[in-house]
């Protein structure tokens, strides 16, 4: 009897063991192995026309005086306000502004700083984009970029480093000024000096010897903008 039971058990277990030898069925084949494609995104802050911010903030000024015309540079700090150098507009009977892409911008008033070679011009038309002022002055050795219209010609970008800080040799500014080796020319006055982050670190007002450039630091600009009495109307030509 025991033998028969063993045989019977073997007869039952045998097929089951045989089933164990047979490999499992393959897993279901997916319909696609292509991973989900992420949706296309647009980079934040992308320029609408391919020009970067440093070009878009730069403005060209034409100062019409009794003696003729002069050109200078400037930059927007908000939609209807721009900053330039005082000597660009102080004798002007009218100030004409154009943007990097050739649009003309109507201006209303021009005011000049009492104690710095700075001026503020307000506009009727909206300016392309406003610059961001840096939180602090650049240190000696920091890289800077100057964007402006040297000689009243095409928009130009030059780079250099802050080389020194000193009193103004022209005595146009009561506060100390900074010096950079980024080259400029006549007509670059009022150009923004940008730091590594693209923020305005100063305003060009003079060209020295050996391709040195003098600029008013952003701390002076900030203090002037915060003081309502710092700016007075332009006297115009007499």
């Amino acid at each position: 009897m025991r033998l028969r039971a063993g045989v019977a058990a073997l007869a039952l277990v045998g097929p089951l063991a045989a089933c164990g030898i047979v490999p499992d069925d393959p897993a279901a084949v997916p319909t696609s192995v292509v991973p989900p494609v992420p949706a296309a995104t647009t980079a934040a802050g992308l320029s609408p026309d391919g020009f970067d911010a440093e070009h878009r903030i730069a403005l060209r000024l034409r100062s019409v005086t009794c003696d003729g015309i002069a050109t200078g540079s400037g930059f927007a700090i908000d939609e209807h306000t721009l900053v330039t150098a005082r000597h660009v507009v102080d004798d002007a009977t009218s100030v004409q502004v154009s943007t990097y892409d050739g649009h003309d911008v109507l201006t209303t008033t021009a005011t000049i700083a009492r104690d710095a070679d700075l001026a503020v011009v307000t506009t009727v038309d909206a300016l392309p984009v406003g610059a961001t002022l840096a939180g602090s002055d650049p240190a000696v050795g920091d890289p800077v970029t100057v964007v402006g219209y040297p000689l009243g010609k095409a928009l130009d970008v030059t780079t250099g480093h802050v080389t020194a800080g000193r009193d103004d040799p022209l005595r146009e500014n009561a506060a100390p000024v900074l010096v950079t080796d980024a080259p400029v020319e006549a007509g670059s006055s009022g150009s923004p000096v940008l730091d590594d982050d693209g923020h305005v670190a100063g305003v060009v007002y003079a060209k020295g010897q050996d391709d040195t450039t003098y600029f008013v630091p952003v701390s002076t600009l900030r203090s002037m903008l915060d003081d309502e009495d710092a700016f007075v109307p332009t006297p115009g030509c007499s």
Binding site: L3, R4, V7, A8, L10, A11, G14, P15, A17, A18, C19, I21, V22, P23, D24, D25, P26, A27, V29, P30, T31, S32, V33, V34, D49, G50, F51, R60, R62, V64, C66, D67, G68, I69, T71, Q96, S98, T99, Y100, D101, G102, D104, Y149, G152, K153, A154, L155
Partner: protein, 209 residues
């Protein structure tokens, strides 16, 4: 040579021969031992069972393997089709990417060219506006000078006319009241002074040009 002789089965015991008149032998039939040929050895049974089991296992195994093989082959075919499709998609995507990169490079070049052109055009426009502003200033200057010169000419004309008239009056001074002559002389002096002022204005206009 090997001789082969027929084998004869020898019965295990002699067969009894009964006559019709002879009664059958008495005694219990049960005591007769069963024939030895019907007894199955347990080993045979086990072997037979094992054989059956092996056959069953074999059949089951073969059936299962065939079915599994079919499944795996079908799955393999589907994977192959899927791989082919994915490969074609990858190739198409790579080709599209290469084309897009080429298009992007071209577009970037075109954008750079367009930006440079915009900058050039803006500069040309600004310089034309500079020239226009300068021209307007020249025109305004010329207009100022012309107007000042016209004022000088007008004032001089009136001055000369007044002086001529005054000379005529003085030639016949007895016919006029001396007070009227003095008043007229003062008027002529005023007119001629205006001519001098107009001339000064003209000189200033010329200097500011």
């Amino acid at each position: 040579m090997i001789s082969v002789a027929p084998l004869h089965r020898r019965p295990p015991y002699p067969e009894p021969v009964l006559s019709p008149d002879e009664p059958p032998p008495a005694g219990p039939v049960a005591d007769t031992p069963p024939p030895r040929g019907r007894r199955v050895s347990p080993v045979v049974v086990v072997l037979a069972a094992l054989l059956v089991a092996a056959v069953v296992v074999g059949v089951v195994l073969v059936t299962g393997l065939r079915r599994s093989n079919d499944e795996w082959q079908a799955a393999s075919a589907r994977w192959e089709a899927l791989a082919t499709d994915a490969g074609e998609q990858a190739a198409a995507a790579q080709a599209e990417r290469a084309q897009l990169e080429a298009d992007l490079a071209t577009t970037t070049d075109q954008l750079e060219t367009a930006k440079n052109r915009i900058t050039e055009l803006a500069d040309e426009k600004a310089e034309i506006a500079d020239s226009d502003a300068s021209s307007q200033q020249v025109v305004a200057y010329q207009a100022r000078v012309s107007k000042a010169a016209a004022n000088v000419a007008d004032a001089l004309t009136r001055c000369v006319q007044g002086q001529q008239q005054l000379i005529a009056y003085l030639d016949d001074a007895s016919s006029y009241d001396p007070d009227d002559l003095a008043r007229y002389r003062d008027d002529v002096s005023t007119v001629c002074g205006s001519a001098t002022d107009a001339n000064d204005a003209l000189q200033r206009a010329l200097e500011t040009g």
